[in-house]
């Protein structure tokens, strides 16, 4: 298996917030903490686009680089996780993250800013897989249960895809080929500085 990845199809996302709700419910995320959010550009204007954003489990994660207590670690599947027993709630990761993934509960060990909480790709934390201790700190460990992240599995339009990067890329590529557009429109291609962003789709054998 390559690496676990998320991608949100901006052509399909209808801003229903089902992914946000699924995440909060699955992990019993406290009030004020949103591991996942739906971001809409040009809200209310015809042609508005929405994507669901959470931790992108970066290959070269800036949060890991800046953490002064080295509480982050990466699993074999490329999922970026952290140890709440080590986190001191300093917030450096929050400043470093380009996606706004790290969240801080307003009530916790440190009063105003508790220990950091973020999307775990439904992979829990360092505690024993599926244990109560793991659930209380990090939420459910769906990967160890043989499931994929709840947000993607719950997505009504299947805009949010999660899983092995190769599989997710294949599904998304197939969609782009079938509808003859998608990779060039606003979305991850733009966010990651794709050379194709803003240009017509170049797919062999498909008439424009």
């Amino acid at each position: 298996m390559a690496r676990m990845k998320f991608i949100c199809d901006a052509e399909r996302c209808i801003e229903c917030n089902g992914c946000v709700t699924a995440c909060k419910n699955e992990h019993e995320v406290p009030w004020g903490v949103n591991r996942r959010r739906v971001v809409t550009l040009n809200d209310g204007v015809p042609g508005e686009k929405s994507i669901s954003v959470a931790c992108m489990h970066c290959s070269d994660a800036p949060c890991m680089a800046v953490c002064p207590v080295n509480c982050f670690y990466k699993t074999d599947e490329g999922v970026v996780l952290h140890d709440k027993d080590i986190c001191i709630g300093c917030g450096y990761c929050s400043y470093a993250c380009p996606f706004g993934a790290p969240q801080f509960p307003s009530q916790g060990t440190f009063g105003v800013r508790g220990k950091m909480d973020k999307c775990t790709f439904c992979a829990g934390g360092p505690e024993a897989n599926g244990s109560q201790a793991e659930f209380e700190k990090y939420g459910r460990n769906r990967l160890a249960e043989g499931k994929l992240p709840a947000c993607a599995e719950m997505c009504s339009t299947k805009a949010l895809l999660a899983g092995d990067g190769d599989m997710v890329a294949d599904i998304f590529r197939n969609r782009v080929v079938k509808r003859n557009k998608g990779a060039e429109v606003w979305g991850w291609g733009t966010a990651y500085g794709s050379k194709q962003a803003g240009k017509p789709t170049q797919v062999e054998g498909v008439k424009k």
Binding site: L81, D83, N129, G130, A144, I171
Partner: protein, 73 residues
């Protein structure tokens, strides 16, 4: 006598630091996802501890659950 007593008390107080728990940085070891979970929510159809079985299971689940083109072309 007082000097000796205070010396003993001070020595004992100084040694209490040796009893402090070590505050080691670094993360704990995490179990692999394919080793399974300790609860009743584990999906059937794959073998816990078998990485290949877990990967195949997740791939099939992803294709079935997310690739609607394969279900309704």
């Amino acid at each position: 006598m007082m000097k000796r007593m205070s010396l003993i008390v001070l020595s004992v107080a100084a040694l209490t630091a040796c009893g402090e728990k070590a505050q080691n940085l670094g993360t704990k070891k995490d179990a692999t996802a394919f080793s399974g979970a300790e609860n009743h929510f584990v999906q059937p159809g794959w073998t816990a501890g078998d990485k290949n079985s877990w990967e195949q299971h997740l791939r099939a689940r992803g294709q079935y659950g997310m690739n609607d083109h394969s279900r309704a072309p």
